[in-house]
Symmetry: C2
Subunit: 389 residues, 2 copies
């Protein structure tokens, strides 16, 4: 499959303050984004891709410079791929609070009294809704009134759902993969353990570790190890590692590695702690915790989605995803059906757990391809659900 | 239900070295234990209760002194209870490496060159098999040749199973609750994250923190929080806490508590870090990792259990236990059936996850009561499976 080739991130500065859910506001900020494909004359073929915890605006393609990294959803987005950049104008935006370019805790605090020190723990708490509002402003500046579709997986899917609730007039289709209408107690619990590991790391310094020239790597490692376990299915871990030992015999040690799974997890933790910002980790897990569109409606998700009545939805879940199980996607499907909203739902039998949303499973990608084909066809005929194939 | 009332722990010293699975040996050690009920004249009514990660020899009853703590399986063991101390002589033994009395990392290193410093990280790595061998020695000293039954839950059940493999001639019945024939990759992964949290705590000092007058509490807290999540079912957490908030409105904070589940987990972590020894935590999680009776038989669990041919087994699992799921117990049942070994198996529909083995579920306790009634009846008639009711 051909790739997009080299892509280049862009930065847009916003001078007008962004009011946040917390009541605070962010005065002046940058958003980093990438676009692929061509915006058509009617500005009607835009698809926004929202990212999850660990990703960014770099959705597809590769960079030309030193950092040759491939976009995190490159298997999905590109010429001839399910989200076909020959037909759609695809936008990836890095969310506020991130450590990958958009304004976040690593950037200088705007208050001159702080003397150019990074925001650190003083960066305002941001929510899924805040991200969506910031994304909407970027679309304004790009001259895009209405999205053909908004798509995301996991936390990215929560943003996609939120788009249909906060800016329903600006979205035609919402594609929400491997997600949930809110976090369960167990989901919050895992987030909280990860946060405690970071916050109690002596190198965290209350979130102002930059000034100390250190990074709370111990905490980040543990946080990532916990997260990683929840991204994989029990079965896929079993198949990939099982009880495979590091050596032929046990070394009888509590501190060294005995099993390959330990080695793998430590590697993942180490790698993550080298590039991810601890304050960003706290902010993003909190955004996950807070997301709960039903809350304003006394817990009634159906009432929450009433505003999205003329949108169309595709929900996809994976059978072995125990972080956001199919049951959680079905709650959303039910809320949509309660509102007589058109929704397609695919429950994919995939062994890879939550991470499946990032992988190239033929059935999964087949569903997405068919759905985007339909969107593209509608745009040709102008008739919903009746385009040429 | 009447309790045992006050019980008193006893200590037995062993001067002969204990050879360990690792090849090392432990020269001289103490075992702390409790007994309830009366050993009959034939010394044939003894039941050994093996403890799991976080427990001890204090199985039932309460202490008379300052520490009034109730035994961890007091709802099961006592006069008239399912494991009836009016009929059985019940023994609880604290395992080697523990922090509750038997020789462990907190005790003085026997090498005079160490000047009376605690073992710390130098305490030898012990396995389920080592524990069982040490327990057998205590039974020797108590003059108990043969156990009417050995029982345990979780890691305790692994010891019960191991008894039938290492000392089959000394056991009639094995009762293994909420257990597995070995840890899965996911089980090991959770253990490893907990260990990393402890080991990378700057207060761990390579396991020799006693000399520094500190305790790696941060690591212990995180370890316990992770463990606790795996002990509870997703459903029971949801029912108990759900998304219940600490206050009426969110405080929009990453470092303070927003949800009740966070408060609960922090409390559990704090409490645990006050009394549990970090080196013991490492040792016990490793004993869990290593347990794998099939390993010496090329992974064939049926061959492993061939030696237990004339034992009788009761296996109990809980539907919502995702740490050691019913599937794992069924692996053991299959291996027993393959050997035409008599096995009863109860899969209890209980909402509480792995922790269910400690709780007083009427169906669960009913199964245990019936099984112990049967053992007691057999002992009266002398005919297996044919006792008076």
């Amino acid at each position: 499959m051909p790739s997009l080739g080299h892509v280049t991130p862009q930065t847009m500065h916003f001078a007008e303050p962004l009011p946040l859910q917390s009541g605070a506001s962010l005065a002046g900020y940058d958003l980093v984004y990438e676009t692929y494909g061509t915006l058509d004359a009617k500005r009607s073929n835009a698809v926004l891709v929202c990212h999850a915890l660990n990703a960014s605006h770099h959705v597809a393609g590769t960079y030309a410079g030193q950092d040759k990294s491939e976009g995190w959803w490159d298997n999905l987005v590109g010429p001839g791929k399910p989200l076909d950049t020959n037909r759609f104008f695809v936008i990836g935006i890095n969310n506020l609070g991130s450590c990958f370019g958009s304004t976040g805790p690593m950037h200088p605090h705007p208050d001159p009294a702080k003397g150019g020190q990074p925001w650190g723990a003083d960066f305002p708490v941001v929510t899924v809704e805040d991200w969506v509002d910031a994304q909407a402003r970027l679309l304004d500046r790009l001259g895009i009134e209405r999205l053909a579709a908004v798509i995301g997986g996991s936390l990215g899917a929560m943003q996609a759902l939120s788009w249909t609730l906060r800016h329903p007039e600006r979205v035609d289709h919402c594609i929400a993969v491997a997600t949930a209408p809110n976090l369960s107690a167990q989901n919050i619990a895992f987030n909280e353990v990860a946060r405690r590991a970071i916050i109690t790391d002596p190198d965290f310094h209350g979130g102002h570790y930059y000034a100390h020239g250190v990074v709370p790597k111990r905490g980040l490692r543990v946080a990532r190890m916990i997260g990683h376990i929840t991204y994989l299915s029990d079965d896929s871990m079993e198949e990939k590692f099982g009880r495979e030992m590091r050596a032929a015999e046990f070394g009888y040690t509590t501190q060294d590695i005995e099993f390959q799974i330990e080695s793998y997890l430590r590697y993942q933790g180490d790698k993550f702690s080298e590039y991810f910002d601890a304050n960003t980790y706290l902010l993003i897990t909190r955004a996950l915790d807070y997301f709960d569109p039903a809350r304003a409606f006394g817990g009634d998700l159906s009432r929450a989605f009433a505003v999205a009545r003329d949108k169309r939805f595709l929900l996809v879940s994976f059978t072995t995803d125990w972080r956001f199980s199919p049951e959680r996607s079905r709650e959303i499907v039910k809320a949509l059906v309660d509102n007589r909203i058109e929704v397609s739902y695919a429950e994919i039998a995939a062994p890879h757990g939550h991470d499946a949303f990032l992988l190239e499973d033929p059935r999964y990608h087949g569903v997405l391809r068919a759905y985007f084909d339909r969107i593209a066809a509608e745009r040709v005929t102008g008739v919903p659900g009746e385009g040429a194939a």
